[in-house]
């Protein structure tokens, strides 16, 4: 979800390059002697390596990207998002929405069983909603996404009538995320400790064991026969299991792929991207997550970013695309808008907003009264230097710090003094909740444009203080109204229009510097695996259709 921290701790970029270059030279075509088939075959284990280990395998607890990634393997959702963005039935065969948008009647499949033997029915649906919203669950994502839930009536085991407090047009869409995957009510009753280590769903794979700091082993669900209609096959998964490994160090992870210890990895190290591309045994999925991009949000509640001209000047003074090219070797995609292009209702017109323009930045700063310059070349106003405190957690990738240093250098040219503060997560969170920053790193992955509400509506600035997901402090009644109205409308064209207006307001207000799109990158050994693809809801890999070629 939102604020990022990659767990990559240490990386000497140059060494990693050396590592991958050498590795590239020595990688051999191990599979050439083995028969490989392009037709799906059953059996074999998928060896997958990802960078971040979840702290809890139940995606409802807290709510972070690694949890939703693994949840897709063992949890099914009520609805399913197709590649074209439209929603199709899954555990819910169909649904009716009342004209006032307050009642959703889900007609459920009657042939679904959780892997602990519990039958899936309306009681299970009700139990999951209540679980997500129970404060004891300690959920920060699910409890937000279904926060307007009012209750569920169960006229028959196959029908769940879900009532909402307010109309919520994103409801059906958001339910397709694995964060809101349906779990066995019997398993949920076991308590947090058991549910964190062996959560139980009805998905194509079953969690068998979590060896902390090493891997999670999953086996195929032999009973699975309820895949969404748009999947390329039906019935049980092709592979007989997944060994889901955690390898935090990027060059080790990529090395494990090259030496055939793993078949597929998530998050390709940027410096290895070209090596991976050049290797004919390695196929790449190069996608981006929907939702809000990785960005540095501006604190508009204090000087100097309380002045829109200063914020706009900062955006015109930044040349992020050039920085990305030199730091990430083009592996990460630049972005100028507040939404990722893979999000529904993304407005293409804003794709090139605030193209690098130092002279425009200069005239905006002049107009804002920051016309004087001190001996170091920084702009001043009333004798005060134009200084910005940029807070970033020290767990962020070192490469991103390089990107920020480039930003610092280029913004100096227009007169900004950017101070980069690398903070531990506790201090960073303390500064954030007390609005003690000028720029703060943020991202938010979700499949709906409703992310605009979480990030920019004044409803997400709690009056009591504490955590605010609106990091800029933007308080614009017109924008608040637009994102609220968009939730109330069921007319797609009208909704698109409302979100287009909202994106324009956010862009004009210049409340954040988007830096890159949250990558969804996977590299796999195509001599070992076939059918690797991503689940479209938030573009995370799904292994349901994946088969192992050489066993």
């Amino acid at each position: 979800m939102s604020r990022a921290h990659s767990t990559r701790l240490i990386a000497l970029a140059s060494l990693a390059i050396a590592a991958t270059a050498l590795a590239g030279c020595t990688s051999t075509n191990a599979a050439s002697s083995v028969t490989s088939s392009s037709k799906p075959t059953s059996g074999g284990t998928i060896n997958f390596a990802t960078d971040r280990e979840p702290t809890c395998l139940d995606p409802a607890v807290g709510g972070d990207q690694p949890q939703s990634l693994i949840a897709r393997a063992f949890l099914d959702s009520l609805t399913h998002q197709k590649t074209d963005g439209s929603i199709e039935p899954w555990l819910a065969k169909s649904w009716d929405i009342s004209p006032d948008g307050l009642t959703y009647t889900f007609h459920l499949r009657d042939d679904v069983t959780f892997s602990d033997g519990t039958k899936f029915d309306a009681t299970a649906v009700k139990a999951n909603f209540e679980y997500w919203l129970n404060p004891a669950t300690q959920s920060s994502v699910d409890s937000l996404y279904v926060g307007d839930y009012a209750g569920t009536d169960i006229p028959s085991p196959g029908t769940a009538v879900v009532h909402l407090k307010k109309p919520y047009s994103a409801f059906i869409q958001v339910l397709s995320q694995s964060f809101l995957g349906i779990q066995s009510p019997k398993a949920l009753a076991r308590g947090a400790a058991a549910n964190c280590s062996t959560p139980v769903g009805s998905g194509p794979f079953i969690i068998t064991k979590w060896n902390k700091q090493q891997d999670v082993t999953l086996t195929r669900n032999p009973a699975y026969n309820w895949a969404p209609a748009s999947e390329t096959h039906q019935g049980k998964a092709y592979a007989s299991g997944i060994d889901w490994k955690f390898i935090a160090e990027p060059s080790t992870r990529f090395g494990a792929l090259q030496s055939h210890e793993v078949d597929v990895i998530e998050t390709i190290p940027p410096e290895s991207f070209s090596v991976a591309k050049a290797s004919k045994n390695i196929s790449i999925i190069d996608d981006v997550r929907p939702g809000g991009p990785v960005q540095y949000v501006f604190n508009t509640t204090r000087a100097p970013f309380n002045d829109v001209k200063v914020r706009q000047a900062f955006r015109y003074g930044a040349d992020i695309a050039a920085g990305l090219k030199s730091v990430y070797f083009g592996a990460y995609k630049a972005v100028n808008a507040s939404l990722s292009p893979t999000t529904v209702d993304y407005d293409k017109a804003l794709a090139d907003a605030y193209a690098y323009n130092p002279s425009k930045a200069a005239s905006l700063l002049d107009a804002a009264g920051w016309s004087a310059k001190d001996s170091s070349g920084y702009r001043t106003k009333d004798g005060k230097r134009l200084t910005l405190e940029l807070n970033v957690e020290d767990s962020v990738q070192p490469s991103e710090i390089s990107l920020l240093e480039q930003l610092q250098a280029i913004e100096k040219k227009v007169g900004f003094d950017v101070q980069i503060n690398k903070l531990d997560s506790g201090t960073s969170s303390a500064d954030y909740t007390s609005w003690n920053y000028d720029l703060q790193r943020q991202y938010w992955v979700t499949d709906t444009p409703d992310v605009l509400r979480y990030q920019y509506s004044s409803a997400f600035i709690p009056s009591t203080g504490g955590y605010h997901s609106n990091g800029s402090g933007l308080n614009d009644p017109k924008l608040d109204g637009l994102v609220d109205d968009a939730l109330q409308t069921t007319d797609a064209a009208k909704r698109t229009d409302l979100y287009t207006q909202a994106q324009k307001i956010v862009s004009d207000a210049a409340v954040a510097l988007p830096v890159y799109l949250y990558p969804s990158q996977y590299a796999f050994d195509n001599t070992r695996l076939g059918g690797v693809d991503v689940d479209p809801s938030i573009n995370q890999v799904s292994f349901y259709d994946t088969w192992v070629k050489t066993q």
Partner: protein
């Protein structure tokens, strides 16, 4: 080292073989002055002396135990205080820096972990649990801290033991053949030691990984659990320690080679190899053992780099992620375990001293 310099009269003690005569030598050197003062007193006084000695040993052991408990308490308390008073609300970190937890969720979480109580009450609760061996539940993993540590400790112990063994082998191979071989050999030996000692773990790890695992394919790249998987991470940690070990051992080794007993041994016709391994090495062991005590403690927390590079489980990584996510119970649990390792290892080193050098047994 100073001990050796001070006692030149130990040709006989030195000649004694390690296991059998060590005890006698100890008796000889420690009791000699005392028996003089006791001379002429009635025999039952000697029994009293033995009793007093036993009492003295018990007192020393109890004293050490009390000291150890004090150290563990101080470490736990200091860690608790540091983590509670640095900025940042642990509840927001428990809920993940993600989403937007509602006030109700924040309050419930605060209550669930007892973080709504006054700090003093939290501290007393923590102490009460710690006495019973219960360090509470991990904020992040939701399972008991003892389980978290229990799962990860064996892998770290394995790695540390293997690293120390490798470090000793490397360092003996460097020191013993090169010490006292004239200025050129010595300079080469010393340079090698300095280079080894100053290599950063991360660099060694990546280089070993690239060459021997990814390049040559002799070892697994990631998470190998068997002996082959242990070798490269252990070597990564062993190399700098081997450098330090050689540096301290070389000095004592060269001192020993200059001693009269070496001349005497050579005069008796002992081969160079026998002189070096049989006579001089023992003198060089003492500083090596002291350093090893420190290295074992440091490796428990410092193994994290090898653990990350080679994707091995272990308490180093547990500690790192717990510190970053402000998982206070886990941090305290791991820190106490590491402190206990230091205490135990130092106790063992204390016991080893008189065995290696009987002159120290007083």
């Amino acid at each position: 080292m100073t001990v050796e310099a001070a006692t030149v009269n130990t040709v006989t003690g030195e000649a004694a073989t390690a296991s059998t005569v060590a005890g006698d030598a100890a008796t000889a050197s420690t009791l000699a002055p005392r028996s003089v003062s006791l001379a002429g007193e009635p025999p039952h006084e000697v029994d009293d002396a033995a009793l007093r000695r036993t009492a003295g040993v018990i007192r020393r052991v109890l004293g050490k135990l009390a000291g150890a408990i004090f150290v563990l308490w101080a470490v736990a308390t200091l860690t608790f205080a540091l983590l509670r008073f640095i900025p940042g609300d642990p509840v927001l970190l428990i809920l993940g820096t993600s989403g937007s937890p509602s006030a109700a969720v924040v309050d419930a979480t605060r209550k669930a972990f007892g973080l709504d109580q006054p700090v003093l009450v939290q501290y007393l609760n923590f102490l009460g649990g710690a006495v019973r061996g219960d360090f509470g539940t991990s904020y992040q993993l939701k399972i008991p801290v003892t389980t978290v540590i229990g799962e990860q400790l064996p892998s770290t112990v394995q790695l540390v033991v293997a690293s120390v063994l490798l470090a000793w082998i490397i360092s003996l191979l460097i020191t013993v053949p090169t010490a006292g071989r004239g200025p050129i050999v010595e300079r080469i030996g010393r340079s090698v030691e300095i280079v080894l000692a100053s290599l950063p773990h991360f660099w060694i790890g990546i280089m070993l990984l690239v060459v021997f695992a990814i390049g040559l394919g002799w070892f697994p790249v990631a998470g190998g659990t068997g002996l082959t998987g242990l070798f490269l991470p252990a070597l990564t940690l062993a190399i700098p320690i081997a450098g330090f070990l050689s540096q301290v051992m070389r000095e004592s080794f060269e001192d020993a080679l200059a001693q009269p007993f070496v001349t005497s041994a050579r005069a008796r016709g002992a081969s160079d190899l026998r002189v070096r391994f049989g006579h001089a090495l023992r003198h060089a062991l003492l500083p090596g053992v002291t350093l090893t005590g420190w290295a074992i403690g440091a490796l428990f927390s410092g193994a994290v780099v090898a653990e990350v590079v080679f994707a091995r489980p272990g308490i180093g990584r547990v500690l790192l992620s717990a510190v970053l996510s402000r998982d206070i119970p886990v941090v305290i649990g791991v820190v106490v375990v590491i402190a206990a390792v230091y205490v135990v290892v130092n106790a063992i080193v204390d016991i080893l001293y008189p065995i290696i050098d009987p002159r120290l047994s007083r």
